[in-house]
């Protein structure tokens, strides 16, 4: 590979690995939270809803800073991780996943929650009457009917994860060949005045993102017309 290709290939693979894993995690946990928020009432629910939105409000660098405090060697969770794995999580691509997850979670929760709230409760009752438990009903009825919203949330989360930069940079650093995501590479190239590389990277990132988003949409919307 030419150095240029190498400069492109690694960031791409790491970016999409991070985005894919973080989107998957966001999908699982975000939809779960959205369901709970939509279908349960508990004390402090409104506050919890708002706190989930926080990572959108704060500058990513600041979030990154908080994450460093939490996950770093001396951080509350970081120490735990360290004592278990023997190595820290800082400066690894896994840290990038955490950063991406944190900033994109609110996108999924809010979007999916709105979609779940719009699902007709009568249909859920109909499933209960057929003996389905709440969990079965959620998977069989509620979530499929909220599919459009969840899908929108997924697209947004994925895009945000791909584009994540500030928090990732703080948490995983920019270690060429190890943690330099597309965003970071673009930023670096851009800052260094290497406009050619920056443009190529922007183009590649854009194309690849669009393709993956389009694919996600296609796969998930099979049979959509019948609903």
């Amino acid at each position: 590979m030419t150095p240029m290709l190498d400069q492109i290939w690694f960031p791409i693979s790491i970016t999409f690995r991070i985005a894919a894993i973080s989107s998957f995690l966001v999908l699982c946990s975000g939809v779960f939270l959205a369901y709970i928020f939509a279908r349960r009432d508990f004390r402090g629910k409104e506050l919890a809803e708002l706190l989930i939105t926080l990572p959108l409000i704060l500058p990513p660098t600041v979030i990154g800073y908080f994450l460093v405090i939490l996950l770093g060697k001396n951080g509350f969770i970081g120490q735990l991780i360290y004592s278990i794995t023997g190595t820290g999580i800082m400066f690894t691509w896994q840290a990038g996943v955490i950063a991406a997850y944190t900033v994109s979670l609110p996108l999924m929760v809010r979007t999916a929650q709105a979609a779940i709230e719009a699902v007709d409760k009568e249909l859920e009752y109909a499933a209960y009457i057929l003996g389905k438990s709440e969990i079965e009903t959620a998977f069989l009825i509620t979530l499929p009917l909220a599919k459009r919203g969840i899908l929108a949330g997924l697209v947004l989360s994925f895009a945000r994860a791909v584009g994540e930069f500030g928090a990732t940079l703080m948490l995983s650093g920019n270690i060429p060949g190890k943690t330099n995501t597309m965003s970071i590479s673009i930023y670096s190239a851009f800052q260094a005045g290497n406009n050619e590389l920056a443009n190529v990277l922007v183009l590649v990132l854009t194309l690849m993102s669009l393709i993956s988003i389009a694919l996600t949409g296609k796969i998930a919307s099979r049979g959509k017309s019948k609903v």
Binding site: G88, L169, N174, I175, Y187, S188, Q191, N194
Partner: protein, 256 residues
């Protein structure tokens, strides 16, 4: 100026005693300055304005690279104070600054820092080659001036190749500082001015000498419509009061 006309139209009353002594409303100049100058320049503002009653200074702080890009994009800045000669050079090449007004006005120094509670015995740059030192935080040499200086210094000291695989690149100095403060890296290179903002959590090990001095250049932007006032500002910064203030924040004053 436009501003003045507008103001009179709107209020319709003549200038009152509370307005500045000058008969006119003040001219506004915008100074795009490197982020590391934030506190020093902010501190200078009232003094400068007191001395130059007709001028109102606006600062625009940011990374030198970003500021340069803004000026390239046509941002209405009057003065550019960079933390990095190269950014100024680029603008000079593009004739976007008034080359005659360009001058270095202050110097920063590169320092090696370690966490305050570090138990590694690092007393100098050479100790960084010790295998116990696992990670070193530096600015990205390609994008952050301090990183560039660091690389130059290390290369000059013949250490770069040994340290290269220990470095964690940061996109700004603050990031290096945070890493060191939190003990995420064993050591880091920052400017003296940055190091001075975290006296409790880090320890300055040593000044690192660099052959090319860390000079801060300042110049008037070509498209400025207030070149005289801009020059006033540059003079003020380079003058006694300006230099004193800068010194207070850890800068090294240029010896005449």
């Amino acid at each position: 100026t436009d501003n003045g006309n507008e103001a009179t139209k709107e209020t319709g009353i003549p200038v009152t005693e509370e307005t500045p002594v000058s008969e006119q409303d003040p001219e506004t100049i915008t100074v795009s300055a490197a982020a590391s100058l934030t506190e020093a320049f902010t501190d200078m503002e009232p003094k400068f304005e007191a001395e130059n009653p007709g001028v109102d200074v606006n600062f625009n702080f940011g990374g030198s690279g970003n500021l340069r890009k803004q000026i390239e994009g046509g941002a209405p800045a009057d003065v550019f104070a960079s933390a990095d000669e190269s950014q100024m050079d680029i603008l000079a090449n593009e004739t976007l600054i008034d080359n005659s007004s360009r001058k270095d006005f202050v110097k920063n120094s590169l320092v090696l820092i370690i966490p305050a509670n570090s138990n590694l015995n690092i007393t100098g740059v050479k100790d960084l080659t010790d295998p116990k030192v696992k990670k070193i935080g530096i600015g990205n040499p390609d994008t952050v001036p301090v990183g560039n200086y660091t690389r130059t210094a290390m290369t000059e000291a013949g250490l770069w190749s040994q340290l290269e695989n220990k470095v964690v690149l940061a996109e700004d100095v603050k990031q290096v500082l945070v890493y060191v403060e939190r003990g995420e890296v064993d050591a880091g290179f920052v400017y003296m001015t940055d190091a001075m903002t975290a006296p409790e959590t880090i320890k300055i090990v040593t000044n690192v000498s660099v052959n090319t001095p860390v000079n801060y250049p300042i110049a008037i932007v070509s498209s400025s419509e207030h070149k005289e006032d801009a020059q006033e500002f540059i003079d003020f910064v380079a003058g006694k009061e300006g230099q004193e203030t800068l010194e207070k924040y850890g800068f090294t004053v240029l010896s005449e």
